[in-house]
């Protein structure tokens, strides 16, 4: 019985560790996006950009920069993005970009 409990505890610990790693990876990717945007838009200060800042609505990235960002996302995810399948809101903010394109390795935009 004690052995079973130990096994369950170990599984829980492993699971928590995986979750921590996933969260760290998510944070890292979002920070990479944030840095990319700050480099692209020099008028923007770091304090003005968080993961929920409206990018398209506030025109913080231009149409040309959207194209460049797609190339950057393709590098990050190591896969192609089909622009025909782009949906409104996909580039709303850093959180939505992560959810649509980076959460899984497969193209969620399909």
């Amino acid at each position: 019985m004690t052995e079973d409990k130990n096994q369950v505890a170990q599984v829980d610990a492993d699971h928590a560790k995986e979750e921590d790693q996933a969260k760290q990876e998510e944070r890292l990717l979002k920070e990479k996006l944030r840095t990319w945007i700050l480099n692209a838009n020099k008028k923007l200060t770091p304090s003005e950009l968080d993961f929920k800042t409206a990018l398209i609505e506030n025109r913080l990235i231009s149409s040309l920069q959207v194209m460049d960002m797609i190339l950057f996302l393709e590098q990050l995810k190591d896969g192609a993005i089909n622009v025909e399948n782009l949906k409104p809101g996909a580039f709303a903010n850093i959180d939505t970009i992560y959810e649509r394109f980076l959460r899984d390795t497969k193209d969620q935009n399909e």
Partner: protein
């Protein structure tokens, strides 16, 4: 619902079709055309829109500010003239028409104008470098020219009439203009029992996948079309500060925002031929009688 294949142009109907992609209106169709435009004008008057009548040409350099020739080269129609010299003119005069009905141009002057592709461009051009104290409203009706792969009477024409109502000024007013106009239209379509739906759409860009503006329109739809059956009879467009920036128009110290509501008159005529539009047809005839 009437489809293009149902529509047989005839003098009796008041519609003569030119294979070049243009229609001639007369009789009942011309009356309906005029009454429709009066209807659109009453809507424009609701915003106290200032009327303009523009010439058929628009400067290529002004359109270039909008990157038009990169985005829509497939649509553009360019008027050309012969070089102003005796030898060339005589050569042209003596050549006459080719057997297929085309003119043979060995040379022509480099064109600096194009035939208007959309009515509202003239308005931003006219407002160029303006400093507006308050939001303003404009309206114009132009013959517009867009080359297409195929043409269908009243549905898709090389030349067609477009009535636009345009708002230029502060962001809040531009947003209110579009929402107010949408309310008006929803109520109008409902009153006349017209099955018109509003749908997001993108402009018909050349090589769309390579055009950043197309991508931006997909991500942030700014065009809302009025769809009757499978036909867009008009559209509502939010340009944000795009034209304000391109034509240096400002309002209250900021780049002006703009939006337009556009109606394709021939397409509205096509809608009027459908049984569902009988109530609107009667209304337009009644209005004419009262006038």
């Amino acid at each position: 619902m009437k489809r293009s294949s149902d529509l047989v142009p005839s003098t009796e109907l008041g519609l003569i079709w030119k294979e070049s992609g243009q229609s001639v209106l007369t009789g009942e169709m011309l009356r309906l055309f005029r009454n429709l435009d009066k209807l659109f004008l009453t809507w424009a008057e609701g915003w106290k829109a200032e009327s303009y009548l523009f010439p058929p040409f628009i400067s290529a350099s002004e359109l270039n500010r909008l990157d038009y020739f990169h985005s829509f080269p497939h649509l553009v129609t360019i008027p050309v003239v012969l070089p102003d010299n005796q030898i060339e003119l005589e050569a042209f005069a003596n050549r006459g028409l080719s057997q297929d009905g085309s003119l043979s141009l060995s040379t022509f002057e480099a064109p600096k104008v194009v035939l208007t592709p959309a009515a509202c461009y003239h308005i931003y051009d006219a407002l160029q470098s303006s400093v507006l104290n308050h939001t303003q409203y404009f309206t114009t009706c132009c013959v517009c020219h867009r080359r297409e792969q195929e043409y269908l009477p009243l549905r898709r024409q090389w030349t067609f009439n477009m009535r636009e109502i345009v708002c230029v000024g502060e962001e809040k007013d531009v947003i209110a203009f579009l929402s107010g106009f949408k309310e008006l239209l929803v109520s109008f379509f409902s009153e006349f029992k017209l099955p018109v739906e509003f749908q997001s759409a993108c402009d018909p860009f050349f090589n769309p996948k390579r055009n950043p503006k197309y991508l931006m329109q997909k991500l942030d739809p700014v065009k809302n079309e009025m769809i009757f059956g499978d036909l867009a009879i008009g559209s509502m467009n939010l340009h944000r500060n795009y034209f304000g920036s391109a034509f240096n128009i400002s309002c209250q110290g900021k780049e002006a925002y703009s939006a337009c509501v556009a109606f394709g008159l021939e397409r509205w005529l096509h809608m009027l031929l459908a049984p569902e539009a009988s109530k609107l047809r009667e209304h337009l005839s009644e209005s004419e009688r009262k006038a």
